[in-house]
């Protein structure tokens, strides 16, 4: 018994020693590696320069990452464009931090604040509580949040009038449908995606109030299998145009439309993409099932806010709304075959009315009801 205890003690000591040795070596690594230390210093010095007038900007992605083919990627492209314009390179002037889980948002924001970035973007509404928390602690740093409204004098909230773009998507769908049934596939049911839904339904009904709109939510932005299942049901019951606002879930919608098209090249099935121009996603052989896409130019907004902030005109505490008038939401015209002259001219016509203020596009389900009743 005594011997056993001895062994445990010895083992513990040894393991502790090993752990410490392991730690020690990587610590030494940090010291030995002069370049590592230097890069830290150079960052510090660039931070000082920043205080002297040089400007640096960074962004924190949500769990999608900068290669999500959606708004994280778009935001990063905006920052890169901003950097090119001002002679910066990644790591020197602009950079991003990727989040692996919800709990990483605050950590990443804090890290960037500590690296003395002047302006930090939070990409996606999921970062809203984190931005508010960190912005409250660091009043001297500027923050901006995309797709949500956060309160604070040093936060700019960037939102998009997705309902306007979705309205035009609805017009396109209503013009294209032959069965008078169209579908909407949403990601997670909430304020943001309801904006897409309300705009789309309003657009459809404005063209023809008799068209039925089937609205379904997948409860996830990353469940392509569910997207496919919902699309299968919709297409089976006669829906011929589906607008998806569901991130990667929408890949399932595309997959189902392409399957149908593969089996029967004459089939009349269409998908309307979201956020980016999803023309590539829809190509089947010689044809393409992507009717159009509701493009949200996060990059334009990110670039715009960065420029304003660099010029000392940071719109702190304001809610910026980018819409059709700024070309920050638009309708893609890459599928020239499917998007006929007739459809384009009526899209233009409605766009005109929205920009002029003749049509007030609803952005919630309640507004939608009043809008539809007034038709």
């Amino acid at each position: 018994m005594f011997k056993n205890r001895w062994f445990v003690m010895l083992a513990l000591l040894l393991s502790l020693g090993l752990v410490l040795a392991a730690c020690g070596s990587s610590d030494e690594g940090g010291e030995d590696q002069s370049s590592g230390g230097d890069s830290g210093e150079s960052e510090d010095s660039s931070g000082e320069e920043a205080a002297n007038g040089d400007f640096s900007v960074a962004m924190v992605t949500d769990v999608g990452g900068v290669d999500d083919k959606s708004f994280n990627q778009s935001a990063w492209e905006g920052l890169q464009a901003f950097g090119d314009e001002n002679g910066m390179s990644k790591g020197e002037g602009f950079d991003y931090a990727q989040s692996e889980s919800d709990s990483d948002y605050v950590t990443n924001l804090n890290r960037l604040v500590r690296q003395d970035y002047n302006l930090i973007f939070g990409i996606g509404y999921l970062l809203q509580p984190a931005i508010e928390e960190v912005a409250g602690q660091y009043g001297d740093t500027h923050f901006a949040i995309v797709d949500s409204v956060a309160e604070g004098d040093n936060i700019a909230s960037i939102t998009f009038k997705e309902h306007q773009g979705s309205f035009l998507a609805g017009v396109a769908a209503a013009k294209k449908t032959q069965s008078n049934q169209v579908g909407f596939v949403g990601g997670v049911d909430g304020d943001l995606i309801n904006k897409f839904e309300a705009g789309f339904v309003a657009g459809v009904k404005s063209v023809n109030p008799d068209i039925e709109v089937d609205v379904q939510y997948a409860e996830s932005f990353a469940a392509a299998d569910k997207g496919k299942l919902i699309a299968t049901n919709m297409y089976n019951k006669g829906v011929d145009v589906i607008y998806h606002a569901s991130g990667a879930t929408g890949n399932g919608v595309f997959a189902q439309a392409k399957d149908i098209k593969n089996n029967d090249p004459e089939a009349n099935v269409w998908v309307i993409g979201v956020d980016r121009d999803q023309y590539e996603e829809g190509s089947v052989g010689d044809t393409n099932v992507t009717l159009t896409s509701m493009v949200k130019r996060v990059d334009i907004a990110v670039q715009d806010v960065s420029t304003q902030s660099m010029n000392g005109e940071f719109p702190g505490g304001e809610v910026l709304e980018y819409g059709l008038a700024d070309d920050a939401v638009s309708i893609a015209r890459t599928n020239e075959e499917a998007l006929t002259e007739d459809i384009i001219s009526s899209i233009e016509e409605w766009k005109e009315k929205i920009v002029n203020g003749d049509v007030e596009v609803p952005s919630t389900r309640e507004d939608l009801e009043t809008y539809v009743n007034s038709l």
């Binding site: 083992a11 090993l18 392991a22 790591g91 692996e100 304020d191 990353a222």
Partner: protein, 349 residues
């Protein structure tokens, strides 16, 4: 003498970690990154200043509890894959109590923590009773229960706790584990008192398993169900009990997130991975209380430090996932390490 069995059992995880880190360095090197810079960035990201140290401890806290949950069930021979779901219900229950009542802290906080443990325990009870009474394999049931937990908690947040919003209101400060004092000490990190609960629970697990009759029975069932039955133990009862206690640990891990880190619950579009990482933590910690604490510490360090690797050294965070996977791989293939040891031992004679 030097390579006793016990010694080998302790050395295997340590060697696995070292081999994992070494392989990570080799991979970094081959992909054109500087491994020394990479690990220095990892180290700075986890311990660079007191803020990051606080965040590391914050991350370690739920890992300890989810690791204990997996380890406890494994000691009774049950593979509880459902820790993830039990974390969800624990999180939900703690936040529910946190936002629904206004009570003095001495009652409110323990009540919220207890609710989380009970919710997790209930979520563990279902697969436990199914296994004990009907022989349904716990792996299948717990995996399914994960999805049930995910979607039920989403629906609860959206329809019951709020009116269609994406996240619940903040819990009342009387139910919060967060501490001004700890936060200000670590430059506003989200370090909270939960770490004390986690360490206490590790001690509880050690005590229950090693110093009580119940613990002896649980371990005995884990070694050999038939022998335990022959010795007059109630195998069914012990299976259910193991799952309930395991679930309670997992529920507490959820409370750490609900009452400590976040202070609210939001609609999740996927799993948090706290529970799944717990499996790795338990495996690395050899299913012992102390081992789990050390393994959780390592995993928390790797996870938080990894976030710093892209910005400081240009190494993608995915690489840390690879290192973690390699460590698990080496632990799982401990047979090889054991074999090498035994060869040395023979030659040493």
């Amino acid at each position: 003498m030097l390579f006793s069995n016990r010694m080998i059992n302790i050395l295997i995880p340590i060697i696995s970690v070292l081999l994992g880190l070494l392989s990570g360095a080799i991979i970094m090197f081959f992909f054109g990154y500087n491994p020394v810079e990479g690990y220095a960035a990892l180290w700075n990201g986890a311990f660079g200043d007191s803020y990051f140290f606080g965040e590391t401890i914050r991350q370690v806290t739920p890992y300890i509890l989810s690791g204990l949950a997996v380890a406890f069930a494994l000691r009774t021979g049950l593979l509880n894959i459902g820790v993830e779901g039990q974390v969800f219900v624990g999180w939900l229950a703690s936040v529910w109590v946190g936002i629904s009542f206004e009570l003095p802290m001495v009652i409110h906080l323990p009540l919220a923590v207890l609710a989380a443990a009970l919710a997790g325990a209930f979520w563990g009870f279902i697969p436990g009773i199914l296994k004990a009474k009907l022989g349904v394999h716990e792996v299948i049931v717990t995996i399914m229960m994960n999805y049930i937990a995910l979607y039920i908690s989403n629906e609860m947040v959206r329809s019951v706790l709020t009116d269609g919003a994406d996240r619940t209101p903040e819990i009342f400060p009387t139910a919060s584990l967060a501490s001004e004092w700890l936060a200000s000490m670590t430059f506003y990190s989200r370090l909270h008192y939960g770490i004390l609960i986690a360490l206490f629970m590790a001690a509880v697990m050690w005590f229950v398993l090693n110093k009580t009759t119940t613990g002896f029975e649980l371990r005995s069932v884990g070694f050999n169900q038939n022998a335990s039955k022959y010795a007059g133990m109630n195998v069914s009862k012990n299976i259910v009990l193991a799952m309930v206690i395991s679930g309670a640990f997992a529920g507490l891990a959820g409370a750490m997130e609900g009452l400590g880190t976040f202070g609210y619950m939001n609609v999740k579009s996927g799993f948090t991975n706290i529970g799944f990482d717990g499996i790795a933590v338990a495996l690395l910690g050899a299913n012992t209380a102390l081992g789990v604490v050390l393994a959780a510490f390592l995993f928390g360090t790797l996870k938080i430090g990894a976030l710093n690797m892209p910005t400081e050294a240009g190494v993608p965070t995915e690489l840390v996932e690879i290192v973690i996977a390699l460590i698990i791989f080496f632990v799982a293939s401990s047979y090889i390490i054991r074999w090498v040891f035994l060869r040395f031992k023979k030659e040493g004679k």
